[in-house]
Symmetry: none
């Protein structure tokens, strides 16, 4: 059984929006053992939507559609679906209740446009939208399943994971496919590849390896296919054990783990706390740590010290250290880490100081030069890194490298 | 005259790679006045490539194809193009010279696979690849133009800008198309739509409006098509002026502007500075501000005060205010804003305190309850907001709302 994705929206055809929805959906479908034949992006035009639906239905068993479900005039998917399925819009009480609930929570008043969003084609099964007003819609015609969803990613994604994929897996006898992603930090892709080359070459034929690089992190995805899920799980576990022996220091987690969640869990378990003193990362480490619900249990706060004045006045960095060594130095980053640990009274702390770029580099300290310091209940230490030239990547790499340094220390003391 | 993009590659259908090529190409084509009908991503399969070419040629005058031109076995685009155009591969001396030159530069030796890349279909015009071994190929059949290019972005992009677009502009009498995006903050999509309904209804027939929502921001895209570029620009300027009279407070910029860059430019011009005191946003505002190169000119730093202790000790918030009103209150957020402004000695400051969720809500202060305070050289004020239930969106919305509040104040005092 095969599937097809249709993305509706003029913004995709004028290059204003990159079609990240389609790649995310393709990944989910593949994980569930459903092959994707084609991804088609088309405009908000009746004839085009109709012909795309027609063509997709001729080639695939499942057609997932996103976009064009907003309350405004340019969104015409719902009317066009009625035409395609030869049906009419009907007010749906259940959908309206959901819209009312959403608006109530936000203290907003429902207008006529919103009320119209509760009208859905008669012959579809509505899929609840917990994050917006437009419901998803599940249709069946000539043994083909069509699902229409909003194009807003955080509205569409829960519909796919909580409803569409489980429902499709029930209907179809999908082959067993297992994916496991190993998360590594601390080595660039090409070096990592030679480090694990012999392991990679010895993988069984039914296990495929893919490198998925992100700034500061390389994800290694293993995909195993076969008949028996338990067998595949054992097979993958065995390969991961082998890999753990080769690069134990680089692996920090699996699948959807994040460094900041892992650190949070370790700290919560130990009843310990952390703070950050950030120069070049500008609050990004604090942002990552606080993106985790409940992080106030172990994160007390941060000082973003973007000027030397703040480093001195708030973090008690010595004036002399700043003059003698400059802000991007071992001395200063260590004093920043100690300063925030003392002022914020935490067990651990992270400090960063570097030249994120594109300006500010010198011969001695080119763009990308970065110092990271960690304090633990027992010691303070700092390490120097030479990252690249790209500002956002330097910020990301510094943050993830610092978090991984902290993780190793907490694990040691655990 | 219309065009279509075909992206070939299994990696696009398993969700491993996001199709950024297609959106980039779509943008270039639109800028040149060439409409894009459809973007289709398909696998490296002969039948699929043939049917996609066939279908595209029936709907469009220009078909741009990327991918599947590598030297390895899984790349079959070239052979399939021969089949489609009913021709054969032929060794091309010019292409081979280019490959030799490239290999020379990199100090590599040419192998049989590379030599094969100099074989191209007899009836095509080769397009020089300055950054790789696979040439582009320009075909014509039944008045339809087909161009096949490598999928590697930095090989494909110069072919488009230096050869394909200039060549297409010569051949076709392209209509003028102008896009302008108006950026708004402070009103959800459905309310905004009713607010500007009569303006929208009065738009001339050759101007289309699209709503592009992001968390905390709604972008309004106007697309005008016609014969004369200057005329269209005047037409769009006129419509934007009209819109500015209806929602002057909501519009903060145009096209690729960001709130943090706009604020940065205003502050730099005035020689003024800003600091932030962040509770619920956890450093995200500081992160946005410092994502701009050169932000150290006007941003001194931030205190992320995730615990009451830090609010008291570092920001000098009154213990009594915290006890009497709680951390998420007008009193506390105002004291935070004043505290950071004084300690960091800045002209402006932003403070945030809210319940980002998913936990921590009460009947009186449900998840999403957020206070934002702004200090200026002249005053301090705070506003309460009721955002939604989703943690990341609450953080984004709070940050963008706060930045827009700050922008309005700086503009007033400008």
């Amino acid at each position: 059984m095969t599937s097809e994705i249709i993305s509706i929206g003029d913004e995709l055809l004028i290059g204003q929006v990159v079609n990240t929805n389609a790649s995310w959906m393709a990944e989910q479908l593949n994980r569930a053992g459903i092959k994707v034949n084609q991804v088609t992006a088309i405009s908000d035009q009746r004839e085009h939507i109709l012909s795309a639906l027609e063509e997709a239905g001729m080639k695939s068993d499942i057609v997932l559609i996103t976009g064009g479900l907003g309350p405004t005039k340019d969104d015409i998917t719902k009317q066009t679906l009625c035409e395609f399925f030869n049906t009419k819009l009907k007010f749906n009480e259940e959908v309206f209740e959901n819209i009312k609930k959403l608006f109530g929570k936000r203290g907003l008043i429902i207008n006529e446009l919103n009320k119209k969003q509760a009208e859905i084609p008669k012959n579809c099964i509505p899929i609840k939208n917990n994050n917006g007003t437009a419901p998803g819609m599940w249709f069946e015609k000539d043994d083909i399943i069509y699902v229409s969803m909003p194009g807003v990613p955080f509205e569409m994604k829960p519909m796919i994971t909580d409803f569409v994929i489980p429902e499709l897996s029930k209907r179809f006898n999908t082959p067993a496919i297992i994916h496991r992603t190993i998360l590594t930090q601390g080595m660039p892709e090409s070096l990592l590849a030679s480090e694990i080359e012999s392991w990679e070459n010895s993988l069984p034929a039914n296990i495929k390896l893919a490198y998925l690089p992100q700034p500061g992190i390389i994800r290694l995805r293993l995909s195993a296919s076969g008949k028996n899920k338990t067998e595949l799980e054992n097979q993958i576990s065995y390969e991961i054990k082998k890999l753990n022996k080769i690069i134990p220091d680089l692996i920090f987690g699996y699948d959807n783990d994040t460094l900041y969640e892992i650190i949070g869990n370790l700290l919560r378990k130990n009843g310990q706390t952390v703070s950050t003193a950030e120069s070049c990362t500008g609050g990004y480490i604090a942002h990552l740590i606080t993106s985790v619900p409940g992080s106030s249990d172990y994160f007390k706060g941060s000082v973003v010290a973007y000027s030397n004045e703040i480093k001195e006045n708030i973090l008690s960095v010595n004036h002399k250290s700043l003059i003698d060594h400059g802000a991007v130095s071992k001395e200063v980053v260590i004093e920043m880490a100690r300063g925030v640990q003392q002022k914020f009274n935490t067990d651990y702390s992270i400090a960063t100081s570097g030249i994120a770029g594109p300006g500010g580099g010198t011969d001695k300290k080119p763009v990308g030069t970065t110092w990271i310091a960690i304090t633990t209940p027992f010691k303070t230490f700092a390490k120097k890194f030479q990252f690249g030239e790209h500002r956002q990547r330097n910020i990301s790499k510094t943050a993830l490298t610092a978090l991984n340094m902290l993780r190793k220390e907490i694990s040691k003391n655990d």
